[in-house]
């Protein structure tokens, strides 16, 4: 390595290999289904405060404080959303274990359409909150449907998934997140 020529060659090789590694990483990452998913800055922070109407009880507002004490999954959906249709059986399965409350967040929808959708495919939700102008959704950092949040008993956001939940998501990330807050699925 005393020879400066060898040193130069080594530097060039290192830079070149570094770039190749970066490209390889890009190719591998581009294959992931959730490559566009943004990491939520809400993880580890208190869930946003809200007061939202309930789909099935016109006139009733649910305050975020009322939900504290027990953990819950917040599932963002809309009758217009194909991905929600895909994950619906999986959400239903989670809800049927009765290990955790699954709350629907009916986003940018219409009342009649939402009711018809639930009637047609079944309503797995413990409660369905309504946000049709999408104002509150901004506080949650919601940008599409489906999205799912895990909020613990203290009201801290623990986990978020963008896109339909499937068995693989449950095994690889939802279960560990639930285990961490002491809820076995």
């Amino acid at each position: 390595m005393a020879n400066p020529r060898h040193l130069t060659a080594a530097v060039i090789a290192a830079v070149f290999l570094g770039l190749v590694g970066l490209l390889l990483y890009g190719v591998l990452v581009s294959d992931r289904a959730d490559r566009d998913a943004l990491p939520s800055p809400l993880i580890g922070r208190p869930a946003p405060e809200f007061s939202l109407p309930v789909l099935h009880e016109p006139g009733r507002l649910v305050d975020s404080q009322e939900l504290h004490g027990q953990p819950y999954l917040l599932n963002v959906w809309g009758s217009w959303c194909p991905g929600c249709r895909v994950e619906h059986p999986v959400i239903t399965r989670i809800a049927e274990t009765r290990r955790i409350r699954v709350i629907g967040y009916n986003w940018k929808d219409e009342h009649a359409d939402a009711m018809r959708w639930l009637e047609q495919f079944g309503n797995p939700y413990w409660l369905v909150l309504v946000d049709y102008d999408g104002r509150k959704a901004i506080d949650w950092g919601i940008y599409g449907a489906p999205e799912t949040f895990l909020v613990d008993g203290e009201g801290i956001v623990r986990w978020k998934h963008v896109g339909p939940i499937d068995d693989q998501v449950i095994e690889s990330s939802l279960k560990p997140a639930l285990d961490a807050i002491g809820v076995p699925l």
Partner: protein, 153 residues
């Protein structure tokens, strides 16, 4: 002049009526659709446009908030507009969105933490390249030029 051909003034009147009807329809459409944002003055419009051009649409990640036509981009534009009206500064509005959607919404990410390589990376690469070139040039300058005996000028 025969009765079959309408007189020019009648034709003009009909055209005017048609245009009026069409423009009325277009206005009604715009109001019913995505309520457009109404700026108080030119300065406010300029500030808004400069701000949303620098924010990334979270859904369609290769467009700015200004260019995108998705629902969420529309909602976020309205939010930015409302925050402006509340008297928040550009920095506060950016912080507001970063707190909800993360650093990703900024087309011009802040320096620090994990973004230093974004800012300094190109400069460091350029510097490394320059060093390599300097080394090569220096090592070559130390070698004597080969003398070509039979060179003709």
């Amino acid at each position: 002049m025969s009765a079959r051909r309408p007189t020019p003034w009648l034709l003009r009147g009909l055209l005017a009526a048609l245009l009026l009807a069409l423009s009325g329809g277009a206005l009604a459409q715009a109001v019913r659709d995505a309520t457009p944002l109404e700026f108080r003055d030119e300065a406010e419009a300029r500030r808004f446009n400069a701000l949303v051009a620098e924010l990334r649409c979270v859904m369609c990640q290769n467009q700015s908030l200004a260019d995108s036509n998705t629902q969420i981009a529309h909602d976020l534009r309205r939010e930015v507009f409302d925050l402006m009206r509340e008297g928040r500064s550009d920095a506060e509005i950016r912080d507001y969105l970063v707190a909800r959607y993360g650093e990703f919404v900024l087309y011009r990410p802040r320096f620090g933490g994990h973004t230093w390589i974004l800012w300094l990376g190109p400069g460091l690469l350029l510097l490394a390249g320059a060093l390599v070139v300097v080394r090569i040039v220096r090592s070559r300058s130390r070698q004597p030029l080969p003398v070509e005996e039979d060179q003709e000028w």
